[in-house]
């Protein structure tokens, strides 16, 4: 706009001194720079847009090449069925199962907390709360969602674990239970807000129909709204699981680095993410099996979360009820 205006000004001021031919020539010149820019911008912007694809390719390639190098030294079967992870020392063994069980257990504990509380919060906000209460509560949940995970880690380690020790005296100072619970609390806002979005988009006519047949509010919620919004609700659970699997700092701080294959939740266990932190923090020399194991574990983690995210997308697309 600025360019056009200033051009007009020039024209009116200089029209006395300039011949028409010069004016046209001048116009043409400025048009040609504009048209060069015009042709160039889409290409520049496309290049920028492709960087996001390059990032994905970069992630996949780096993980893949080093993971392949890892599987040259450790067999595929040994990695995925081995119950012993002993990355250092003479007879190093690389079984991923201790890490995998720790990740699954901590995520299961997290979802055990996040699913019921998150869903009930969503129901309350979408079906029961008045507008005023909702406007008050939602920002609070957003604050909970915006707290950095490192702060939750600190909270788990210095508050939740000592608290739980009073209930379970045999609890180790670092254990998988406490970070699991705190991770669940961290995921509540995510499950709540995604589920609430799904429930809010259920049309009111359906609620009114059920109410008109004499249902109580709870029956309307449980038998009409929740089933109608189930695709969004389940997708929010799956995204929550994916978030729990990828969560790093809470488990690194509060669950320690014990690489045992166990199902005892009072013990210290190391998740896949915590293993990555430990190995990179220890300056593994490039080229060692330990160094490659980092990528194999990261690849496993990446595939796990990617599959979860794709499942969530598939569910919310495929099973969505359109009204």
């Amino acid at each position: 706009m600025k360019g056009v205006l200033s051009l007009e000004k020039d024209v009116t001021r200089e029209s006395n001194t300039l011949s028409v031919r010069e004016m046209i020539a001048k116009n043409k010149r400025s048009v040609s720079t504009a048209s060069v820019l015009e042709g160039l911008m889409p290409k520049i912007l496309l290049t920028i847009a492709i960087i996001s694809i390059l990032t994905t390719i970069g992630i996949v390639l780096t993980l893949l090449t080093e993971t392949i190098a890892f599987f040259r030294e450790v067999s595929f079967v040994e990695f995925f069925t081995g119950t012993v992870l002993k990355p250092l020392g003479e007879s190093a063994q690389f079984g991923v199962l201790p890490l995998l069980t720790a990740t699954i257990i901590s995520s299961a504990i997290a979802m055990f907390v996040a699913i019921p509380i998150g869903l009930m919060t969503a129901v309350y906000l979408s079906e029961y709360a008045s507008d005023r209460v909702r406007k008050l509560l939602k920002p609070m949940l957003e604050i909970l969602a915006g707290i950095p995970t490192i702060v939750y880690g600190f909270f788990a380690f210095t508050f939740v674990t000592p608290l739980l020790t009073k209930l379970i005296p045999t609890l180790e100072p670092t254990n998988i239970l406490s970070p699991g619970i705190v991770m669940g609390i961290m995921i509540i806002p995510m499950v709540a807000s995604l589920s609430e979005d799904a429930m809010s988009s259920v049309p009111n006519a359906m609620r009114e129909g059920a109410l008109g047949l004499g249902s109580t509010k709870f029956e309307v919620t449980w038998k009409v709204v929740v089933p109608a919004a189930i695709s969004g609700i389940v997708a929010s659970f799956v995204l929550g699981i994916s978030r729990a699997i990828g969560e790093t700092m809470i488990v690194t701080i509060a669950s320690g680095s014990n690489k045992v294959f166990t199902f005892d939740i009072t013990q210290s266990m190391q998740t896949m993410t915590a293993y990555i932190v430990e190995v990179t923090g220890g300056d593994a020399p490039a080229g060692s099996t330990l160094y490659y194991s980092l990528y194999a574990v990261a690849m496993t983690l990446f595939v796990f979360t990617l599959v979860m995210n794709l499942i969530a997308q598939y569910i919310s697309r495929k099973f969505r009820e359109e009204y």
Partner: protein, 294 residues
Amino acid sequence: MKYVDTNQVQKKMTSRLLTNRIAKTLFLLATLFGLLVLVVLIYRVVAQSLGWIDFDFLNNRLSTNAERAGIKGAIMGTLWLMLVVAPVTLILGVGTAIYLEEYAKKGRLQAFIQMNISNLAGVPSIVFGILGLTIFVRGLNLGAVVLAGGFTMALLVLPVVVVASQEAIRAVPQFLREASYGMGATKWQTIKNVVLPAALPGILTGVILALSRAIGETAPLVVIGIPAFIIPLPDGLLDKFTVMPLQIYYWTIDSALVDEYANLAAATIVVLLLVLFIMNSIAVLIRNKFQRRF
């Protein structure tokens, strides 16, 4: 013929109403549980930090002596990091959003980029750390410096900026563009002079939220190998650095050895939360104040 057995209905009514009432209380309690945790968390952190936050804490460098330790290095590190993350995400994020919304034809490439961005948003942050470690720290041989950390963080928060900018650009009504074309403006002129200014509040909100995410992230920076103890302050893009979340991390795991480190971690958390709170307030302010509804 009787269709409804009134007695049966009456008998069930009490328990149905009771269930209704219990459910409502339960849902309310569940909602309050999240808030209770929030209150306890903030109370605990503030209580533990009392007496530890003062000017010296903000202005001192790191020290093994808890009494003298400060977070000036971490604050400077955070600022330097933002100096890289902000322009990189702004250019990459807004550029991608403009391309997708204004130039890209509906088709395979556009759908692919879009799907790619939403999947990137779901990749765990620690995987971005590994990418940064492999490409920036070791591949380009930068080491664990501001530039490497900044690039890693920028890629991590890129989806946030792209999605926010896309929504802002999409919200600019078509008639503004048409008016601009009617005045003889070209496509790029229209984008530069009409679409972007109108979308700016939404874009800025997205960028600030992305930056606040980057300020609070820990895992990618731990992975690219930022050491626990750095005394010199960063003075350029190629200097080693540390940030507040990392300081919290190292002080928390070392609090088993020195009790006071827990207080230092709590004090750093209070500073970090304050910074994030201010940034988010600014974002909300911009959204409410400058967002025009067309």
